[in-house]
């Protein structure tokens, strides 16, 4: 274990542990947009910037992203200096200009006192802030059906060549992990459409309600060893089944 200082407070941590994790454990609030507990940090959104220095740096300090900066002995971390707050505010202004329709960004901007953004505003329909959570989730935890394509201002999240993906399993992990609800999908009856592909949802074997796509069940089955059919029970019926099992247990 090592000791470091966050906003004047001495705290303990493992060497190399990321500053964001330590701060959150200690109840110090640092805003994030591209951070997701399930995947490795990326450092893309730059909202978690903090100022770090060391006693031997002779007054020199630098801004770093807390999400991936490794803790070291005697590091002095300040999470709300003028420079930090100003940089976060500017980043939010850039994001408002990109996604003027996003509620989350608007709320965060208000917190940072950004009442009158001055930069030219983009399209109202744009919601994606390119935080990379969806692509990291899909690539590291699911099948890698989507990635970031093009570069710079042209960058977007999509399937390769924006064609219908044959590896997508329709699990919605991308859409559900998106902080700004930018990934659209449609679910009507026993049909779910995402990334231009329509999946048939298998009806619950007990009540007929939609469960999940066959592709997703097969993918899960391969990894868990459970039978594919076991996934075709809806959440309600599964709960009822569990309740019945408990009822039958003689206490």
């Amino acid at each position: 274990m090592i000791e470091l200082t966050i906003d004047g407070k001495r705290v303990q941590a493992r060497k190399g542990e990321h500053l964001l994790a330590i701060a959150r454990r200690e109840g110090v609030e640092i805003p994030t947009l591209c951070h997701h507990e399930a995947v490795e940090p990326s450092g893309a959104c730059r909202m978690c910037m903090v100022e770090v220095t060391r006693p031997d740096w002779e007054g020199w300090s630098k801004l770093v992203t807390a999400c991936n900066f490794p803790a070291e002995e005697d590091l002095i971390v300040r999470t709300r200096t003028d420079k930090v707050m100003q940089t976060r505010k500017e980043i939010l202004e850039l994001l408002i200009a990109r996604t003027p329709g996003s509620q989350l960004i608007a709320e965060m901007a208000r917190e940072y006192g950004l009442d009158h953004p001055t930069l030219t505003v983009g399209e109202l329909s744009e919601k994606c802030i390119l935080c990379d959570i969806c692509t990291r989730v899909c690539q590291n935890l699911v099948t890698g059906a989507i990635s970031r394509i093009n570069r710079g201002v042209e960058k977007e999240v999509n399937t390769p060549f924006a064609e219908v993906s044959d590896v997508c399993i329709g699990c919605l992990a991308c859409a559900k992990s998106c902080p700004t609800d930018a990934i659209e999908f449609k679910q009507v009856g026993l049909e779910r459409t995402i990334w231009g592909r329509t999946f048939d949802l298998v009806p619950c074997t007990q009540c007929g309600a939609p469960t999940l796509p066959k592709e997703q069940a097969e993918w899960l089955s391969e990894r868990t060893g459970m039978k594919v059919e076991e996934y075709f029970v809806c959440v309600k019926c599964k709960a009822a089944q569990t309740a019945r099992t408990y009822e039958n247990i003689a206490w």
Binding site: S42, G43, A44, C45, R46, M49, L63, V64, T65, N68, F69, P70, K83, Q86, T87, E90, I91, L94, L95, A97, R98, T118, L119, T120, I129, L130, D132, S147, R148, N150, R151, G152, V153, E154, K155
Partner: protein, 618 residues
């Protein structure tokens, strides 16, 4: 034939003796001279030599790499005299061979000094070359890059042989560290320190990477070295591998350099065949191999962490460098990544010693630096000088100054899109890593773009930001979004729609780029804008307040008008692409403003200062 530590020395002496005093005609076959017909010139001379009954024992015809003075190409030299022929055409082959057999030089192909009007017989007497100290470029233009024996004759692999015979890896590390060699790719990081960290880091395998993804507009030092002296690069990498304890290396070459790839491939093959690369180098226990990785055309892949992702086959995006590549680089293994020019300096240090190397240069920047000097200079090309040479010496003494009798020096952009624009008063600045950085620019990889009073400074800033908008990878918010808005503001100013408050917006966007960006591309992206605003603020203000672009570049902010000095020579009317200049011979001409596109062609050709550049409303 595989060489060993025992046989190398003898072989090297034999090759050196062969080269000593050899009679040769060399033809530059670098990329630029090839484009101008260098290969055809070479084969024409070959045919004429044959016709004259001169076989290769009498005179060798050598196809070399680039001499770095591409506007003079195709370049032909005659050795050992050092006769320098410029802009040689296929038709000149006859005359060259004829004068060769007579033992004299072909007058009309020699370089003519623009001031003395005298023809200069030898390479070494031409100011462009005489003012240089060619260390990194020592073999470029002197050897046939496709012939390993040529390189060995000029001393390639002597340092390697020395290191493997009488030095320990620690010894090589110490030499490089004591020579205070700093990375030539831009940042100027201490190479010895980098190597030592990688040598100490736990992990196997360790990698040596050579960064040949030279992306700065107008820069071509690394291309020239890879094309013209591939063995120099390889030897530097092998020495680094020996010092660090690596067995695998990569040379990352940008997509646009096919000739560099061809020559490096040949060099790797030849070095393998001679036991200088691969398993058991020179018969020792030390093994090291090199592969070529080709870039896909993204500027950002010249950034070290993005480059490594690209070699891994992933999207070329940078990542945080809080954990150094020397600990976790390529495939998360300890990695040394240096630039082409850095590696090519290493054999010199190992062969001649750190003291010798450190005797040249300034206190903190040792050795030499190659620059590609382009733009408004008389002689654009590759110029290698000791660190600490002033910008004035580089631009005026060696590159010949600003062409055009009425043109004035305005600014020089060092370091490409990551560097800054320095004004006339900074010309006596010694060129080294620290002086440039202290003044808002940077050394960068060595691109040097010279501008005169016909370059609009706001337009220059706009150009670089536009370049970066297109090349930003788009991963982090400040670089992707900030640059887009910065470009937006600069475009507004050049179109005459700027407000004074835009200058504050520029400062604000520069701050967030510098403080917030993930990698050096974004962090340094503000430099061209910041430096132009710092040194040429008045020009920005003229654009905004007076709607006046005094350089005559921004079409919305200038008008060209003919004044009373006009002699009616009709030259302007002849060059005008829209035919909007009218007037009779020997009478004052007039520009039809409705048709004028503000291209400035008339201004550039006028010999009588008869054309004025005025603001948008005249």
């Amino acid at each position: 034939m595989k060489l060993t530590l025992d046989t190398f020395h003898k072989f090297q002496k034999e090759q050196a003796a062969r080269l000593e005093g050899r009679k040769a005609i060399t033809v530059c076959c670098g990329t630029s001279c090839r484009a101008k017909g260098g290969l055809d010139v070479a084969s024409a001379i070959q045919t004429k030599l044959k016709d004259a009954g001169l076989d290769e024992n009498a005179v060798e015809l050598t196809q070399t790499g680039c001499h770095g003075w591409c506007e003079m190409g195709p370049i032909v030299t005659v050795e050992p005299e050092g006769t320098f022929y410029q802009q040689v055409k296929v038709e000149d082959a006859d005359a060259i061979v004829a004068s060769y057999t007579k033992g004299n030089a072909e007058e009309k192909l020699l370089y003519r000094d623009p001031t003395t009007r005298q023809r200069v017989a030898s390479y070494h007497a031409i100011p462009f070359y005489a003012g240089q100290t060619r260390w990194a470029l020592r073999n470029v233009g002197r050897v046939d890059p496709a012939n390993i024996n040529d390189s060995i004759a000029r001393g390639s692999y002597v340092a390697l042989n020395r290191a493997l015979t009488s030095m320990t890896p620690e010894g090589v590390l110490n030499e490089v560290a004591e020579a205070k060699l700093r990375g030539r790719g831009g940042g100027g990081f201490d190479a010895g320190r980098k190597w030592r960290s990688a040598a100490k880091a736990p992990g196997f395998p360790k990698y040596i990477i050579c960064n040949g993804d030279e992306g700065d507009p107008g820069a071509f030092m690394d291309r020239t070295i890879m094309e013209g002296d591939p063995h120099g690069v390889l030897e530097g990498m092998i020495l680094a591998a020996f010092a660090v304890g690596s067995n695998q290396g990569y040379i990352y070459v940008r997509q646009e350099y096919p000739l560099a790839v061809e020559h490096l491939r040949q060099a790797i093959k030849d070095a393998h065949a001679m036991g200088l690369l691969g398993d058991n180098i020179l018969g020792t226990e030390f093994s090291f191999d090199v592969r070529i990785a080709r870039g896909g055309g993204a500027f950002v892949c010249g950034e070290s962490s993005a480059l490594m992702r690209s070699i891994e086959g992933k999207v070329g995006e940078p990542r945080a460098k809080y954990v150094h590549a020397t600990d976790k680089g390529l495939n998360d293994k300890p990695t040394v990544l240096n630039n082409v020019e850095t590696y090519v300096n290493v054999p010199l240090i190992v062969e001649k010693g750190s003291q010798w190397f450190a005797n040249t240069g300034t206190d903190k920047s040792k050795g030499t630096k190659a620059f590609s000097v382009v733009g408004k200079v008389l002689h654009s090309g590759l110029i290698e000088v000791p660190m600490g040479t002033t910008l004035r010496e580089l631009i005026f003494d060696i590159a010949g100054g600003i062409p055009g009798k009425n043109r004035q020096f305005k600014a020089v952009q060092t370091g490409g899109p990551s560097g800054g624009c320095l004004p006339e008063k900074m010309l006596d600045l010694p060129v080294d890593f620290d002086s440039l950085a202290d003044n808002g620019s940077m050394m960068g990889s060595g691109g040097l773009i010279v501008m005169d009073d016909r370059n609009c400074i706001v337009d220059v800033a706009r150009y670089f930001v536009h370049f970066l908008v297109e090349e930003s990878c788009g991963k982090c918010v400040p670089c992707r979004e900030g640059l887009r808005h910065l470009l937006d503001v600069l475009e507004r100013i050049t179109q005459g729609k700027g407000k004074m408050s835009d200058l504050d917006t520029i400062e604000r966007l520069c701050d967030v780029l510098e403080n917030g960006s993930l990698c050096a591309l974004g962090k340094s992206a503000a430099n061209p804008v910041r430096s132009t605003l710092r040194y040429f603020r008045k020009e920005y203000e003229e654009h905004i307040n007076e709607h006046f672009c005094k350089a005559g570049v921004c079409p919305a902010l200038c008008t060209y008008k003919i004044n009373d000095q006009c002699t009616g020579c009709t030259l302007c009317a002849k060059v005008c692409p829209t035919h909007c200049i009218s007037g009779s011979r020997k009478e004052k001409h007039v520009i039809d403003q409705a048709k004028c596109i503000q291209c400035g062609s008339c201004f550039d050709v006028c010999n009588f200062n008869a054309i004025d550049i005025l603001g948008s409303n005249g």
